[in-house]
Symmetry: C2
Subunit: 292 residues, 2 copies
Amino acid sequence: MRDFSQDHRWLSINTATVRRQRGKDWPLLDILDACAERGIRAVAPWRDQVAASGLSATAAKLKAHGLELSGYCRGGMFTYTDAASRQAVRDDNRRALDEACTLGAPCLVLVVGGLPGALAGKAAHRDIAAAREQVNEGIAALLHDARERAMPLAIEPLHPMYAADRACINTLEQALDVCDLLDPQRSGALGVAVDVYHVWWDPKLLAMIERAGRERLLAFHVCDWLTPTTDLLEDRGMMGDGVIDIPRIRAAVEAQGFAGYSEVEIFSSRNWWQRDGAEVLDTCTQRHRRCV
Amino acid sequence: MRDFSQDHRWLSINTATVRRQRGKDWPLLDILDACAERGIRAVAPWRDQVAASGLSATAAKLKAHGLELSGYCRGGMFTYTDAASRQAVRDDNRRALDEACTLGAPCLVLVVGGLPGALAGKAAHRDIAAAREQVNEGIAALLHDARERAMPLAIEPLHPMYAADRACINTLEQALDVCDLLDPQRSGALGVAVDVYHVWWDPKLLAMIERAGRERLLAFHVCDWLTPTTDLLEDRGMMGDGVIDIPRIRAAVEAQGFAGYSEVEIFSSRNWWQRDGAEVLDTCTQRHRRCV
């Protein structure tokens, strides 16, 4: 297991962590400057932030700072109710792939979608098995496009509390079943993003990390689970402030040969998003050394 | 699959559903009267409600109305930090067993506990595997006491969002692994409580219900998952108001031979607990016929 205590060479900042501080959007290009100033070597930007700053300008800024990506957020949302929306999603995911290529991402992270309409509060149906079928079909189709571009797809299983509205792939085991189905040769084109927040509770976590192996472990995300957690979406904790044994999970991932970034992704409307972005970034670097 | 559309013979009310209406405790004995008035045939009382009304008075009232129990809520909370608290928990669980016998419960429902201290916001450690070991030991010890009293224990896997603070058994598969470990002969002394709220998201749900079989299916609880869900604990929905395909799950349970009650357990601080208890009970009977 790598020693993180002396530097933050392997820290990456998911830019949602500092996207909007004290009620004001922090422009992506400024976030990149702030990361570079601190010797942070990698980021994972969100598509809407890239769109707001411009794809070319973002690519140029990344290059100027020598910043790498730990992933690109995000493709997916494969579930649909009609052929038109299915096609629109596929087209949009292709654009996401192209953007990921332009930015030099190591993978496109997939949040696969839940019951169609549920995110807007009006689920079109209650058939989660059917939604999962659509997800499998959607990933299969996108995998074709991804292979053409040599851009790996990383399925991110989301915590079961998001099964209805955000992602109906909810365990690492389930994600790996999809990988085995669609990429049995373990080509590296399809794998998983392991976010400790989503999987820490899983009694099969360590066994499934071993099953994933080097070829399927494409990204590693960290934050913490707070007790109590006051909001299902926006009450994630800073590493060290919660109950997740992050080093144990990182050790398991690295035992399989994963040697990439630890990407910090914190949604925190009541705490970290209410602070100055510089303070949040500084805290991330400190906690990365001490708690990851 | 039984036809529930014509009556509510197989409806049970978990008394937490109407425990405190519009800011005022509804005494258990009055809840039992209100259930009996509506032809409701079963309830699942909570221990603190029984304690407040008196065990003997509760037993007498149940008998007077001919009310059955679908389960007794609850034992468990096995995780500990020192020998004294371990012993206190065991003693308390024995008392819960005795109360369950007095009330004629078909099973004692177990919520097994999470990381010790986490429910109070101060987890003693982050080792969920160790907590799970303590749970296994705790159930093993209690099973001895339960066999002596011929009172079955029903492990209730809780949704993974409660893994830290309430229960570190979070899937039906995991609960069944414990059953197989401690009661390999499938004696009926140890089984599971299937609450649709906790397990609906699980891609292995139907397979695990089949694995459980008749001997291990001791209780069936219903409510619904709302989108959005605004609180991790107290925003459960009334059957029909959310995204859970309850009939599909009931069909799977009944296909294994389960022929007991559908127990309604709704924690809802902002909606159902703000209404008149009579309205809540009437809604439960209607939704039981239409949506379960």
